[in-house]
């Protein structure tokens, strides 16, 4: 009888311990749903939700905010997407820096910092990614989520064995169903990513966007990094931008979007609308297969001794800076790329230029860090 009583107490102890652990895990799980703080600049005209263009998105985790900067002076309209893949933080943070600093003197700019909003609420299984990272500002730290490449499985489950892209019929691995950048042009009654893709396509059409960017990152061992990928109709624009960037000491490879690889932004945006699509890639060690400790320091500093070793023994076929690929450098490359493409666009279409102000230069980001161009967090209420 006494033994039975001891077992009961042991069982109650284990149960209590399990409840505490479950509580901690549940708190972390739910914290991933807390929206990231983004504080727009004074140049903001209005903000809204993507469901204004695709009503089927309303109330879902795909209904992401957009920020509009309208100069009210006639000119072209530009769209910039960050966070298509929420595990590629430079694209997300580059658009946050835009939202918090941008002023538009001529034309209009739409910014969507978290294109795949659903993916910001979960991390990638088995990758050991941190759930969030913080960037120091002049007073206090700004905290941002680090998500997964695709949508949260809770928003689309289960994945099919094979992902069938519509309307092309192209077949890809089932998990690509949750990849926004395989889902264009999308459908209003499709998966959550197809509905987001459809919303972005509708925005491009309704707002008559002429120039559109999709900001990405990739592992240092992937050949397409520090690259600008363009639809064939933006070939000259991309070429001029690459030459402009070279004058600033930034090397980029120009790539043309393959016509037979469907579902990607740089292909479907250009095929479907009059827009000139540009996708940019920076080099991000935390996505690499050679990486070691996968932590916040790697996100911010981008230094990994294994990539340095690979560089020293001549195994890096592409450029990897031994000083690391810091978040400041990667954000700087994205913003410099956008500025260079806009300059090239203005050179090609001088009668209707797009005039941007307030964005930090690449050298400013390198010398002062990203935090210098983010607004400090509001003081915590006592």
């Amino acid at each position: 009888m006494k033994t039975m009583q001891r077992h009961h107490w042991t069982a109650i102890g284990f149960l209590f311990g399990a409840l505490i652990l479950a509580g901690i895990a549940a708190r972390d799980f739910l914290r991933m749903r807390t929206p990231d703080l983004i504080i727009p600049s004074d140049g903001l005209s209005r903000t809204g939700l993507l469901s204004e263009y695709a009503p089927d998105l309303a109330g879902t985790n795909g209904d992401t905010p957009y920020y509009l900067y309208d100069s009210r002076n006639p000119g072209p309209t530009m769209l910039v997407l960050g966070g298509t893949h929420p595990n590629e933080p430079a694209g997300f943070i580059a658009t946050v820096v835009m939202v918090e600093n941008l002023r538009v003197a001529q034309g209009r700019v739409f910014v969507i910092p978290q294109a795949c909003l659903s993916g910001f609420s979960a991390t990638e299984p088995l990758e050991g990614y941190p759930e969030r990272f913080s960037v120091p500002t002049s007073s206090g730290e700004r905290i941002f989520r680090f998500g997964s490449r695709g949508a949260n499985p809770l928003d689309h489950w289960p994945d099919p064995l094979v992902y069938l892209h519509r309307p092309s019929g192209q077949q890809l691995s089932g998990n690509e169903t949750r990849n926004l950048n395989r889902s264009y042009p999308g459908r209003s009654d499709g998966s959550i990513m197809e509905r987001v893709a459809n919303g972005i396509m509708r925005l491009l059409e309704t707002e008559r966007v002429t120039l559109a960017f999709d900001l990405h990152e990739a592992a240092p061992e992937i050949p397409i990094i520090n690259a600008i990928v363009v639809h064939e109709k933006a070939r000259d624009l991309g070429g001029m931008a690459v030459l402009n960037l070279e004058f600033e000491g930034l090397q980029y490879a120009l790539e043309i979007s393959p016509q037979n690889f469907r579902g990607l932004s740089h292909r479907e945006w250009g095929d479907g609308h009059a827009v000139l699509p540009i996708l940019m890639e920076t080099s991000n060690p935390i996505q690499g297969r050679l990486r070691g400790p996968t932590d916040v320091v790697l996100i911010l500093r981008g230094v990994d001794i294994r990539y340095q070793t690979a560089l020293e023994v001549g195994r890096m076929r592409i450029s990897y800076d031994a000083e690391g690929e810091s978040l400041a450098k990667r954000v700087g490359r994205h913003l410099a790329g956008i500025s260079a493409v806009v300059s090239a666009y203005n050179e090609m279409y001088p009668d209707s230029p797009l005039m941007l102000e307030g964005l930090p230069a690449y050298t400013e980001l390198l010398s002062q860090g990203v935090g210098a161009f983010l607004k400090p967090p509001p003081p915590v209420q006592p």
């Binding site: 050949p223 397409i224 520090n226 690259a227 990928v229 363009v230 064939e232 070939r235 000259d236 991309g238 070429g239 001029m240 690459v242 030459l243 070279e246 004058f247 090397q251 490879a253 120009l254 790539e255 043309i256 979007s257 393959p258 016509q259 037979n260 690889f261 890096m316 076929r317 592409i318 450029s319």
Partner: protein, 185 residues
């Protein structure tokens, strides 16, 4: 007096020989119109075409040029560098592309059209996938222009040195404009 005449004749002869050898060693004359093609379907061909445009030199970009496109062409410019996206965009395999370049270079040689190779893509356009294209184009070229980062291992310099071909190694893509203009003067 005879000695002076003899020495003057020797100097004159030497000058004639040097003047004769110099073009053979690479002072090949390049003229417009120019056909610019890719070897590996990288978009670097677009950037090279822009350099020609900025130098006011008539150049037609034809990333997938074939032997038939060489009619009335006076210079063939080959821009080597593998791009999986580019080959995907063209809808051809790497093997098809190697075959096309081989046939194009053979046709240019048969028509005595001088070949200029321009490698501007740096490290991303080198390595296992690109080097077959780079080697084929460099060996067939009369002159090489290379952005330094693509020649850090001396790949192009060695080919040029062994075959006694002239090579211009420049720091940046934009710097290639200067030797380019000089070649077409």
């Amino acid at each position: 007096m005879n000695i002076i005449i003899q020495r003057a004749a020797i100097v004159l002869l030497a000058l004639v020989i040097i003047a004769g050898i110099a073009p053979a060693q690479g002072g090949k004359k390049f003229e417009t119109p120019v056909l610019v093609t890719s070897a590996g379907q990288s978009a670097d061909v677009t950037l090279v075409s822009m350099l020609f445009k900025r130098a006011n030199l008539a150049a037609k970009p034809a990333p997938q040029a074939k032997a038939g496109d060489l009619d009335n062409v006076k210079t063939l410019v080959v821009v080597p560098g593998f791009s999986s996206k580019g080959l995907g965009a063209a809808g051809i395999s790497r093997e098809d592309e190697l075959k096309r370049i081989k046939q194009l270079l053979e046709a240019a040689a048969a028509k005595k059209i001088p070949v200029l190779m321009m490698h501007i893509g740096g490290k991303p356009r080198r390595g296992q996938q690109s080097d077959d294209f780079c080697k084929m184009a460099a060996e067939a070229a009369n002159h090489l222009i290379v952005v330094k980062q693509g020649d850090e291992d001396g790949f192009f310099s060695t080919i040029a040195k062994d075959a006694k071909k002239p090579i211009d190694v420049v720091d940046k893509i934009a710097d290639a404009a200067k030797p380019l203009a000089a070649l077409f003067q």
